[in-house]
């Protein structure tokens, strides 16, 4: 049930872009994205519902391809504050509960 994320870790310089992928073996109803900083709670970034959409705000956006059961998170012109572990969470079609992915540790350096 747990989605798989790639890459496991990425290091960026400020201003660079990154893509984080999330893949499930099951048909999905929705995909969530969260960011967790060390020692803190996960913070909700966005949700993408079935229907194959892309959404986001400013420099963080995401897409959801329900046919491929995949989602991608796009971070553009990264800032130091983007550092943290990014988790996707998926809710399968016909289910109600969110299962988190394996996580991607993002480090932005000056």
């Amino acid at each position: 049930q747990q989605p798989v994320q790639s890459p496991q870790a990425v290091i960026l310089r400020e201003g660079e872009d990154a893509v984080i992928n999330c893949s499930s073996s099951k048909a999905l109803y929705s995909v969530h994205w969260y960011r967790q900083k060390h020692g803190e709670a996960p913070v909700f970034l966005m949700i993408l519902l079935k229907g194959g959409e892309q959404k986001g705000h400013e420099k963080i956006s995401a897409s959801f391809n329900e046919k491929k059961q995949q989602s991608s998170l796009y971070l553009t012109a990264s800032q130091l504050s983007y550092s943290g572990t990014y988790f996707c969470g998926t809710i399968q079609t016909g289910a109600n509960n969110l299962f988190f992915g394996t996580g991607t540790r993002l480090t932005v350096i000056p």
């Binding site: 949700i47 509960n97 969110l98 988190f100």
Partner: protein, 114 residues
């Protein structure tokens, strides 16, 4: 901004003892969840709660675990007889509309079983 409050922030307990982790979800939210995260690892689903009863639970949520909403504001997770492997960060979360909405997480309770 409304937040989910968890207490205590850190609890140390002896193996075999009972612990109760407390959560105050956002007041107008109807869906409540417990997750746990073993240090540095994945965030694991434990249980979901709606309309004063368990909606779903994972295989981790065995007979030693229970949840309660004793009044209109608190949501508790009880671990009856703690084991060393129960050591983890426990997060409570709430949602205003179930699966169509994002979850708001509390800051967590770090449980250490010795």
């Amino acid at each position: 901004e409304p937040e989910v409050t968890q207490t205590p922030s850190h609890q140390v307990t002896q193996m075999g003892q009972e612990v109760i982790l407390r959560c105050v979800p956002i007041s107008n939210h109807l869906y409540f969840y417990w997750y746990r995260q073993i240090l540095g690892q994945k965030v694991e689903f434990l249980v979901s709660f709606y309309n004063n009863e368990i909606s779903e639970k994972s295989e981790i949520f065995d007979d030693q675990f229970s949840v309660e909403r004793p009044d209109g504001s608190n949501f508790t997770l009880k671990i009856r007889s703690t084991k060393l492997e129960d050591s983890a960060m426990y997060f409570c979360a709430s949602s205003g509309g179930g699966r169509n909405y994002g979850y708001t997480f509390g800051s967590g309770t770090r449980l250490t079983v010795v």
